[in-house]
Point group: none
């Protein structure tokens, strides 16, 4: 699958380019392009910041203009907070990821443009976009930096890729079969009976019901039912020895 | 609506605490708690980094332990890449956000735990969690930093809020606040200690952790914690009388 290109337009700090490369690789994106990086290219600060993501930095390509950078792409999104009345679709990250997936699955190259730290994308830059990608931040405090914006886009891309996956159970392990739970409950009831817990006798049905409810919705593993029975056994043993 | 608390456990760099505060406020989260911040609190570096997010930093509260930090919470998620066979649900960020929303819409206080920069959350920390929150990163390159992990969680929370969807709390009744659960657990530990359960002594940490995990994810109501304590009390009483 052709993964989307991340295109940084007039980025300023090498550190931020490196951080963006890391954010990309965290979610499986490797194609980085740069348009007019302020401090030239290669940039040692970017390499240092990218650390383990040097494969992204080393393969990064530099272009003199947005037009050149997107030349081989079929679908381009531009990241901006301001829409400025552009008549293009506006996507939030999940929809954007779905759009990018749709293209990628058809073998088309896509790209997402990100503006520089200070002023973002120009109206001219936006004119290369098929659609706007906007992250809905707190209107009272919006301070996403370049790498964080890249992170959210890469994250949603990887989610879109993974969505083909099937999640059956939220549990890592298998809950105990009912008979193990019931055996544990009966064990507890017997111990409590010996300890004189069900008193007065009239309260027994309610107490038993409440205990069973509690121990059933606890959804223990089979190992945990044994753990619990060990607790009951130990608490009872000494008491029996004593009486 | 009660928004989820972000709890940083043993954070090291003040700068990262500040960056986490910014990430939170970008998506409308304001409740920050710190457990044993390495460099004490307040931390000027955190304040400087937080810049416009000083409202989050200024209101941050410090706690001596995870148990104290989650005492007034009813549902706690722990962020970790490693599940280590814990028998609790594992959520990716969108599901986690839906779960948090469900609780918040019912007026319950929730929290998300994040470990420190070096070693993350300990196995003991995880035993306070109702569920694991894990971000599915590129297995070949996983370098999310603290603020980025907070950013993704806050982002998904704000998406869940914006969706306008009503998320059902999975529980019919109100789960007990953590301090009631912890009181019950400590009560049990004391009773087990007297009964000689923690033998050999070397096994105590593992036994305590497994019991805490079991009794945490059991999601008891406050009434059930009292019911359980009655069980422990009764099982212990006769034994004490006898010895």
């Amino acid at each position: 699958m052709i993964t989307p290109l991340i295109i940084l337009v007039r980025p300023q700090m090498g550190e931020n380019i490196g951080a963006a490369a890391r954010a990309m690789l965290n979610f499986g994106l490797t194609g980085l392009r740069l348009v007019e990086p302020r401090d030239g290219w290669p940039n040692p600060r970017a390499g240092a910041m990218a650390a383990g993501a040097s494969e992204v930095i080393d393969k990064a390509r530099v272009f003199p203009s947005v037009a050149d950078a997107v030349a081989d792409c079929t679908h381009v999104l531009a990241t901006t907070a301001r829409h400025r009345g552009l008549f293009v679709p506006v996507h939030e990250p999940p929809e954007a990821a779905a759009v990018l997936q749709g293209h990628a699955q058809n073998g088309h190259r896509t790209a997402v443009l990100f503006g520089g730290e200070k002023s973002g994308l120009s109206t001219d830059d936006l004119s290369y976009a098929d659609a706007i990608l906007t992250v809905p931040v707190n209107p009272g405090f919006s301070s996403l930096n370049l790498a964080q914006a890249v992170l959210l886009v890469a994250y949603e891309w990887s989610r879109a890729v993974a969505s083909g996956q099937r999640f059956d159970s939220p549990y890592d392990e298998t809950p105990a079969p009912r008979e193990a739970v019931e055996g544990m409950i009966v064990h507890l009831f017997e111990a409590l009976d010996e300890a004189g817990y069900f008193y007065p006798e009239a309260k027994r049905p309610t107490l038993e019901r409440n205990l069973r409810t509690m121990l059933t919705h606890a959804k223990l593993t089979e190992a945990e039912t044994r753990l619990f029975r060990g607790v009951v056994r130990q608490l009872s043993r000494r008491h029996k020895a004593g009486t």
